[in-house]
Subunit: 340 residues, 3 copies
């Protein structure tokens, strides 16, 4: 889509300095700006680029005073970064909402329903007795199993698999290849050393405003529900086992794994590659550093944990700083032993 | 599906206390039981809920003696937990076996064959010269490459990719998004620093009763076969490299990675996020704790290992308990040095 | 496909000793050779198998002198391993190049173009305004979003998802289930503890000869490009976040995760399960051991790093060797304290 600088200024409630009839169709970094692109200048260290950029226009704050001649047009707004973000959002919103209709072939069981302003991509699959809301965008190769409920304004990207009985709230976004509602890993050991699968008859509930990253997996509950609460954000390749509960506005970074029946509080920040054992509880506002192993419940709200077996982060870093020189520590002991 | 309490009691060889014409269509947790659901009471700590639950019926053991008035119906069986498990299995079996037929469009090369009581979902793909057994359920978006052999009673969930030449035994279950038989990661370094792919011409063999979790990846062998033996259970997001062999009834939890040409014995339990180097052998009955790094062969059957570089689990925990107080250890050495 | 031993010898510029009209259709390990297969003998420790193998032929070096009677045919070449590799490549090339045409149904937007000798599998999806080169093989269930550019001789395996605006060079291979160009994990914290998604409007660029493993995820840049440079090889289940740059001929093994805006040099070797924080730079020729955590930039080219928080590999192993006996270290300190 193409906009004149005048149109962009109107969206941002800003003022054009230059030719407001010129057109932009792309958002560029200022140092990589090219004809037809619009950039922003919010960080002083990028100021030199504004005199060289080939971008058609640059969004600047009202406080910006050029010290050389400019070849680009300016759009002045109160705060350039906020302005650019507003533009990004408007652009992104426009791109998403403009996607409406049905691409054929796709599969839609007659017992299911879907709201207005929806998109269903080619080869998307919607099973029996599903209830899907308004403005839901279901991309190609998405699988939606039987009895799934989906709220409004949900985006399900290409190839995501939503298994039977899953419930998805409003404004959720499921990225490509994510699997929601696969069977939990539950097996009963038999007398002969073999295992028998325990039927997993629960489901997954994603509340409103949840995001699930590409190729992440969220298992259904054995019974009841695995629940990702309102506003929680899950990154790529994350594993969430059966009956886990993730609290409101908790963020879980890539490649983290959370074992079965663990409950995580709200407003936690869990970095990448964290491993959390099953059947424990993590307090609200917990911060967990990358690669940390959590083996027991965290009871105190606001803790910051880190380490192979989690410790208070400062304590771990202290111990690790001594671990690094353990060779010389042993030498000092040897020296003391000699001198006895 | 809906059953009367009389029908449920017949399946469980139990006795109804209450109205055996009432109907249930759902399995509920006792503390979340609602009209139309059936629960069980096996753990004493849940006993208070039986007097409050809205479930239509609760399965109890013959030994249960109510101490207050009950508003729910009872189904008495010898052991409530076993009874409930039996019910779960019957339900699950019924759900699975009732899925028969073909949804269109789907792709099936005329050179391939498939047995009776099969299901092929919309957009499933079956390539050339495949031989697929009876009661195989192939869900939507499944890809089955050329010359794949699949036994009987296999379930391949939505979007799983079974690459060419894979052999799958009976009663296997492949969860959504799993990739079986992708190329091994084999590259020959060239003189100029670049790499050339080594063709990967082997395959993957899954023996009977194998389960592979959602979005897990099992690479084909460079030559010969990557083999997952009878009864092994693989969780979600697990990586199994080329020419790995996993022994009978070995369990591998989520996000574990096993490097090329490693052989793992039978009846091992490998927790989540374990990393195992290539070209080694792990003895039967080995237990490996979460997040453990295995860098060399384990020769002694029945070992329990743990740690960043694996150690006997007790030894690692002892060392880690001292690691945690390394700060004070250094203080004590400093103190000794001062006093000399 | 079936070849006579004479045809194989011609490809390898070798000489048949035995019956050159016999046919082979398979490459076997020498210890598992069966009628119709061809093997090679390059490692002396496998010599005993050549007298027992049921393979129809074995490729041997000119220097090989049998010490017993052989029942298999020989193809003599200058170097058996090189010869076998050549055969593998010829076979693999033949298999790939023979795949041409279109399987129906598939989706191809009329605004897009694709070159000669291409293959498009059933249920593959190609969006708007894509430009796709010659000899590109697009397997079943592949999703290619709008405005994607793909070079020549690219293989995109079943179910891979290439999101909008991605640019792929020549001779790349994308394995099943990989996701290229999903949204980066960027959220702006709001005053009430919730998060708002930052629109991700950049793309991913894969230069020539890049390989991406099964179910790996490469996020698009927030702005600009996430770039995987020429010849880089990415294994399965790897996470590459927004705005990462991976240098030429760098190898990244399975389950490694690289956080946002990190730049990795060329000719690096990064083992499995490595975690790298965001916004840092890794020098060329860096080697990183399995499971290592990298928390800061590596400035010196040619470093070899290892450890929970990366150290020089030798230093880490020294420290870990003492960590293993920390129990006895504490005993020695206690002993010294007693003797004061």
């Amino acid at each position: 889509m193409e906009f004149t600088l005048g149109q962009v200024a109107a969206i941002l409630q800003g003022i054009v300095e230059g030719d407001e009839t010129q057109k932009v169709s792309r958002l560029d970094k200022i140092q990589e700006g090219k004809q037809g692109g619009i950039s922003f200048l919010a960080n002083e260290k990028y100021t030199p680029f504004i005199y060289e950029t080939d971008a058609t226009a640059v969004i600047v704050s009202t406080s910006f005073v050029p010290t050389k001649t400019l070849k680009t047009n300016l759009i002045r707004v109160e705060d350039a970064y906020t302005g650019f973000t507003k533009l990004l959002e408007a652009y992104s919103m426009l791109m998403k909402s403009s996607l409406v209709g049905v691409e054929e072939p796709c599969f839609f069981d007659a017992s299911s329903s879907i709201g207005d302003q929806a998109f269903r991509g080619a080869f998307s699959y919607i099973g029996k007795n599903c209830v899907i809301g308004d403005s839901v965008k279901i991309h190609s190769h998405v699988h939606i199993g039987d009895r799934v409920k989906v709220g409004n304004n949900v985006i399900i990207h290409a190839g995501a698999k939503i298994c039977a009985d899953t419930i998805i709230g409003n404004n959720c976004e499921i990225h490509p290849g994510a699997v929601i509602g696969s069977d939990g890993f539950g097996f009963a050991p038999q007398g002969d050393g073999s295992y028998k699968a325990i039927p997993q008859i629960g489901n997954v509930i994603l509340e409103d405003n949840v995001s699930v990253g590409a190729n992440s997996t969220i298992d259904c509950a054995t019974m009841g529900s695995t629940i990702i609460k309102k506003g929680a954000k899950i990154d790529n390749l994350v594993q969430i086992a059966h009956n886990v509960i993730i609290g409101e506005n908790t963020v879980v970074a890539s490649q983290t794994g959370i074992s079965g029946s663990t409950t995580i509080g709200k407003n936690c920040v869990i970095a990448g590659k964290v491993g959390i054992v099953g059947h424990i509880t993590i307090a609200d506002n917990t911060t967990i550093g990358a690669n940390t192993g959590i083996s027991k419940s965290i009871k105190k709200s606001g803790s910051t944990l880190f380490g192979y077996i989690a410790m208070d982060m400062k304590d771990f870093l202290k111990s690790y700083s001594i671990f690094k020189k353990l060779g010389s520590i042993e030498d000092r002991i040897r020296e003391l032993e000699k001198k006895q």
